[in-house]
């Protein structure tokens, strides 16, 4: 079922675009050029952060931290292996990508922890970055209840990620 979603979506987007007389090919290549910029822009932060994540893991500190947080996380139904991702997610997008990809690599993308990490990455955002950008644009210093509400949303996203992966992939 899910194997159908993406190809069908792509195909219908292409047919719809043609019916609107959009030059599908040049739209794709122009967009891909943008993607090249995004990938290249991602690289410096990823190099710095992934070297940090690798060091943490090699020292054994990351495993110790995961072990420390596991009882609390398992109580909420979240796999302890994703602790590093949860901690960095609200602060840094590239850091979360580094931590998440490391979880997927270490445990396998189709493992429970790997799938949870992927869903967590896909269903949450870099909370503090977004808050800084939007409140900065508004020139507002008092963020009132935005931070607690946004962090509640993140926590619910993490719990739901673990729950839905258990439900769909048992």
């Amino acid at each position: 079922m899910s194997a159908l979603i993406v190809p069908v979506l792509l195909c219908s987007a292409g047919i719809f675009a043609l019916s609107k007389r959009v030059n599908v090919f040049s739209a794709l290549t122009d967009g891909a050029r943008e993607g090249l910029k995004i990938s290249a822009g991602m690289l410096p932060a990823l190099v710095v952060l992934l070297s940090g994540v690798y060091m943490l893991r090699a020292s054994g500190a990351l495993d110790a931290l995961c072990g420390l947080l596991t009882p609390l996380l398992e109580y909420m139904g979240i796999p302890g292996e994703t602790a590093s991702l949860l901690l960095i997610r609200p602060f840094s997008g590239s850091g979360a990508l580094a931590a998440g990809s490391e979880i997927m690599r270490q445990f396998g993308p189709d493992s429970y922890a790997g799938r949870c990490a992927a869903v967590m990455l896909g269903s949450t955002e870099t909370t503090f970055y977004v808050i800084a950008v939007y409140f900065g644009a508004a020139g507002v210093k008092k963020t009132r209840h935005a931070i607690p509400a946004a962090l509640t949303a993140d926590l619910c996203g993490f719990i739901m990620a673990a729950l839905t992966v258990r439900l769909f992939f048992g």
Binding site: S2, A3, V6, A13, F16, A17, K20, V22, A27, L28, G31, A32, E34, G35, L36, S39, L43, L46, V48, L49, S51, G52, V53, Y54, M55, L56, A58, S59, G60, A64, F91, S101, M104, G114, A118, V119, M120, L121, S123, F128, I131, V133, Y134, F135, A137, A138, V140, K142, R144, H145, A149, A150, A153, D154, G157, M160, A161, T164, V165, F168
Partner: protein, 191 residues
């Protein structure tokens, strides 16, 4: 500056813990390994990321983003009653959310900032309830196709990179609802 503290903190913890646990040689090797792995990761997801930004651009040019904006308008009118009374603000809000849904990050942020500026023009300097709602909705990403994550999964050898889609959709919806609900409960007593 926050990231500077996080990174130096990561390093300091690794070195100290490494000395204590006797894993210093592994730590020193990991530094180089991590840097190399970052380049590998970037290269292996680059193709998929380019393809998806291409598809996003195609959706934008064929007017799918505008169509989505119109579809979303009734829902957004309920969440942002005051801001939606202003046509410019309503327009910015709609394009912010349709761009977010399609994963057009480059289009979502300018539209969102536009919406924020209209909101402050409409309602003074303090972070109004609707501004907080806008921020909460943007911090809880609701995305139809999480392309980068799927690219990473594919690079790691997943059997079907997109098989997590239903999980992502449900988790996003629940998390954004929980965020809005929390905001709603905390805003009592304030204008």
């Amino acid at each position: 500056m926050l990231m500077a503290y996080i990174w130096v903190g990561m390093l300091a913890v690794s070195v100290l813990y490494g000395c204590w646990a006797g894993t210093v040689p592994a730590v020193s090797a990991a530094l180089m390994e991590g840097a190399a792995a970052a380049v590998e990761l970037c290269l292996s997801i680059c193709g998929a990321v380019c393809l998806w930004t291409g598809v996003m651009e195609l959706m934008r040019r064929s007017g799918l983003a505008d169509g989505l904006s119109r579809l979303l308008a009734p829902l957004l009118r309920i969440i942002f009653p005051r801001s939606f009374a202003d046509p410019d603000c309503a327009q910015a809000l709609s394009s912010n959310f349709s761009a977010n849904l399609l994963g057009l990050g480059n289009a979502a942020t300018p539209a969102g900032i536009q919406a924020v500026k209209h909101m402050t023009r409409l309602g003074g300097q303090c972070a109004g309830n609707e501004l907080c709602r806008l921020v909460v909705m943007n911090t809880a990403s609701v995305q139809l196709l999480p392309a980068t994550v799927a690219a990473v999964r594919a690079a790691c050898g997943a059997s079907d990179a997109f098989d997590i889609l239903p999980c992502v959709w449900i988790s996003s919806l629940v998390s954004v609802s929980a965020g809005l609900l929390t905001a709603r409960m905390l805003e009592r007593g304030n204008p």
